[in-house]
Symmetry: C2
Subunit: 347 residues, 2 copies
């Protein structure tokens, strides 16, 4: 892949569609001037939105379709009905055909995963794809996976998620030997669910291209104890949403505390620069995007309810992933790991 | 139970032992002047600590033992070795013998649960005890269970946890018909793990003494969507620790943001009343205590690393539970529910 990266955008996905996707792409283009876009959706809605953005217009191709996958469509139905013409499917198809290096959609997660598996196919070295999230920590960021591609995971899948998470950490964080932790309810080796203990034993006893840290607990994620936190899709999704809920809750406390007295309001005015820095740090839009790992191509899922700033973050992430050739590296890593590890012992 | 409530305190439990337990009891006594205490631990350490607290001294009996269960003792070992003489076991024994209405310990959770099951026995209507936590929400509080008594739960246990959580909500929050939600990765009935869907179907189709709300997601906990959030002990523990970690992380951001510039520091000085209100709201010590539900007696587990303020909160909770006769009400509720529900259909 050269310096030039092309990203296909499902312009009909999400709660807003092109009204968020087009300004999001314009925003991302300011930071990454070499990007090109395939804007896939209703031409009549997209063209007028492009008008204010001269440079984006030059670097975009509009591919018309007025078929959208709705946010509440069941994955199985999305796969059956009219999938070949939907903006979501076409965005993936562009990656498959090599016309785009990555696809970004703010559409329905379940439908996107089902379509991505069908269109791009799972890497032959991989059993099950996972969704990875970038999670802010006190001093930096970490990767958490799976946050919802699967409802469970066995030992073998947890090991695979570890290898894929490590490959992503190398690509996105530029780390030589990232550290990996398995999410559990205690750090002692005897604690927790059997398949987690089994995965831990296999990871501990295998020479690895990453550093296996051991078990981590829920509060270790935000503390930044490891670069990659590995868990099943059920637990990962609950943890992610619980953290989002806690952040919202504390924002509400902060607003209430600051509005309570004259002095507090005065203080808030003086400290507003600091508050806006804090809001940026707590802003889920800055880290907006679930990355699908384990497929023959890069797919980034943006929050359905995001705005242009959030959608632009998802594009940034897709661009980082595409420039670092992560798919090939990930496939190599999984293959190498399967040679290193007696997988029968872990499966 | 009369107005007078006696609480047995494992004075050797936790990281600090009597140095936290004695001042914690003194603090709780200010708010609940009718409390009496059985202070169980090393007399030579407890007596001098009692000296500054005249009223606490009058209302406490010291029961000597110098055997402590260490924080890293395995539950199975704690049950075997010297259990009859440990402060933890004796605190539970006082409840069993009717000399105390509730026991509070900051000791090792696994050992306390193992001993509590052995000493007090599980209620005959109940399959498995659970640990409930009180979780702050934006406007109030909710109950989350199980947060770690078990590593998993089947449909029948989730239903039982729902009934026990509802009984506790009636006792602690004084609610006629509390609302209950099952923690899942989506609110649609088709989503999530099979045993959760099964429990949801059974709860939906049974006439209940509480209001079954349906599925809730991780961010609904802090939002206060329901009075009681029901989940298995693995997921509940991960969610609880993730929320604690997120709160700590945001505190760190806030401190950093406020120290960044002169204006921000000025603002922080002016707003310090508001900040201290915020810290109170975010302070885990204010809601310190996991309540063991489903046993023949009330046992409250305080955080091992808590200070006197936190230990006093755990005593407050034990006192609320004891005054509301929650054990009998809980046993009645579970029995009634088992009549109402075709349990075979759910088990």
């Amino acid at each position: 892949m050269g310096a030039e990266v092309t990203i296909s955008l499902d312009a009909m996905g999400g709660d807003q569609g092109p009204e968020v996707v087009v300004p999001g792409a314009a925003d991302a283009l300011i930071r990454n001037p070499d990007l090109r876009f395939l804007l896939i959706g209703d031409e009549k809605r997209i063209r007028p939105l492009l008008e204010p953005y001269k440079r984006l217009k030059e670097r975009s191709e509009v591919i018309h379709t007025d078929v959208a996958i709705s946010m509440d469509q069941k994955p199985s139905v999305a796969l059956r009905k009219g999938r070949w013409h939907s903006s979501m499917w076409l965005a993936l198809q562009m990656v498959k055909d090599g016309r785009a290096d990555a696809a970004v959609s703010a559409g329905n997660t379940g439908a996107l995963m089902a379509m991505a598996k069908f269109c791009l196919r799972t890497l032959e070295q991989v059993d099950r794809p996972a969704i990875a999230a970038i999670w802010p920590t006190i001093d930096s960021e970490c990767i958490v996976l799976d946050v919802g591609a699967n409802v469970g995971a066995d030992a073998r899948q947890l090991i695979e998620f570890s290898v894929m998470g490590a490959a992503m950490a190398r690509a996105v964080f530029n780390l030589e030997k990232p550290s990996i932790g398995l999410l559990n309810i205690g750090v002692e080796e005897v604690k927790g669910l059997d398949h987690i203990k089994e995965a831990g034993q296999a990871l501990r006893s295998t020479p690895l291209s990453f550093r296996y840290h051991g078990f981590v607990e829920g509060d270790d994620i935000g503390r930044g104890a490891v670069d990659v936190v590995v868990t099943d899709g059920f637990t990962g999704n609950i943890a992610l949403k619980t953290a989002e809920g806690t952040a919202k809750q504390i924002s509400a406390y902060l607003r209430a505390a600051m509005g309570r007295s004259f002095l507090a309001r005065m203080g808030a005015v003086l400290a507003q620069g600091a508050f806006s820095a804090l809001r940026d740090k707590m802003d889920p839009r800055q880290l907006n995007g679930g990355i699908f790992l384990g497929l023959n191509g890069i797919v980034v899922k943006s929050h359905g309810g995001t705005d242009a700033t959030g959608f632009a973050s998802a594009i940034d992430l897709a661009s980082d992933m595409a420039s670092s050739d992560v798919v090939r590296r990930l496939a190599d890593d999984v293959a190498r790991f399967q040679t290193e590890l007696q997988l029968e012992g872990a499966a």
